[in-house]
Symmetry: C2
Subunit: 254 residues, 2 copies
């Protein structure tokens, strides 16, 4: 019975399209106290009035809120804040990828996962999955010999292991993290390519993972994967990531 709560039109972002700004403002209001879960947003017409924009802009902003899972709209009734639930996606703000430390934090997340993934893969892999893993490992060598940078093959390799867990969420999450780390990985590999010794090191790390999974030794697989990741992290830390990112068109901080 309570009427639509009043809300402050505060702090409209100064940059970007009007839709961007309204979206940001509404996101703030929803994440704040102004519109708790279940609350109804003011009508599009009212919001247009308050924000001083057209209904078109409001609708596009709301459309994005829907996409983010923050609200849901019911024709004839209104737009309602979703009950803080399972529709909100997991995001990593790309603009944080501007420091070595930030990248390493994502690497650390991946590292944690790779260990568990390897262990689960060791426990559950089928014969077919094992074959796929070995194929992927072989492909890495082939790529190396033919002068490819090896990133794609590397991703296929780790993905084949994630698939062997039998849990699709591991695969999905790993792929998501790859999106962030692809370029960083490329760094490492190309860096390594200039040093045969290091490349050999990586090869051995890979082989240890595969062997452990092959003989279904959970603990060894976890350890091998973790060591591989730690090695990657160490190698990554030794290049000037910041300069690399600038050269490769990474986005600036907002």
């Amino acid at each position: 019975m309570a009427s639509t709560p009043e809300f402050r039109v505060e702090r409209i972002t100064a940059t970007g399209t009007l839709t961007d700004r309204v979206f940001d403002a509404l996101t703030q209001l929803i994440n704040g106290e102004d519109f708790p879960p279940g609350a109804r947003l003011p009508s599009e017409l009212k919001m247009a009035g308050r924000f001083g924009v057209s209904r078109t802009v409001i609708r596009e902003a709301v459309s994005r809120l829907k996409s983010e899972g923050l609200v849901e709209s019911r024709q004839g009734s209104g737009v309602f804040v979703r009950d803080r639930n399972m529709h909100a996606p997991f995001r990593i703000n790309p603009s944080i990828m501007d420091s070595i430390q930030s990248v390493l934090q994502v690497v650390e997340l991946r590292m944690s996962l790779e260990g568990e993934i390897a262990a689960l893969a060791a426990k559950r892999r089928t014969r077919e999955q094992m074959a796929a893993i070995k194929r992927a490992l072989k492909q890495i060598e082939l790529d190396e010999q033919s002068g490819e940078n090896g990133v794609d093959a590397d991703i296929v390799f780790h993905r084949s292991i994630a698939e062997a867990t039998g849990n699709p969420h591991f695969l999905a999450l790993i792929e998501f993290l790859f999106n962030f780390l692809t370029k960083a990985t490329l760094i490492t590999r190309s860096y390594e390519a200039t040093r045969a010794a290091l490349s050999q090191q990586v090869k051995e790390e890979h082989q240890r993972i595969v062997d452990a999974i092959s003989r279904q030794d959970e603990q060894a697989a976890r350890t091998a994967a973790r060591e591989h990741m730690e090695g990657a992290s160490r190698r990554l830390g030794s290049v000037d990531l910041k300069r690399f990112m600038a050269q490769n068109g990474y986005e600036k901080v907002d």
Copy 2:
């Protein structure tokens, strides 16, 4: 110099608003071969013509594509498919949460993380963070005594541990997973509440985690957290999740 590639208007979803359908169709086209990264989508006017809808609908669909990180638009120039990068969010389709197995897969993901989180927390926690963890543990007991279901306090507890890792991504990811598992957790706790022995069991599991973190024993923390999660998983598996979800208004499969 190549002209805008032709595209098939295929398989427009049969349900939902026009915006939903166009969004789905465009998503398919982008994920397929039709619009590779870097490609420019046809102009909004052309798409409106092809799909047989107004430009309004196209714009709202594109607005959602932007929100998903699939495309970016440049005024005066066009809408371009982003090259596979870091803007795509990680999602778990809520509609898969309809079977016990699916829920357990998410639980397994969380389980893997909790172990690593506990280990990292043991390694890095500050004195302040340790105090926060102990406060959170105490709050769980208080809530239990005052008859609360304890879910909120439980979340705060695990969150305080994730914070102690010093890596914000762990916290963000754990919170994301909580969104899926909150109700499932509630199940377990309320189930446990009816059995003092089980509740005691959980209390001991919690205590072991805290102790290990307190004395900065990485391995013990990992083991304790993993055992706690395995226990939760076991307890979760023993209730009729499907019926519970139906009673608690979980969404139906689309």
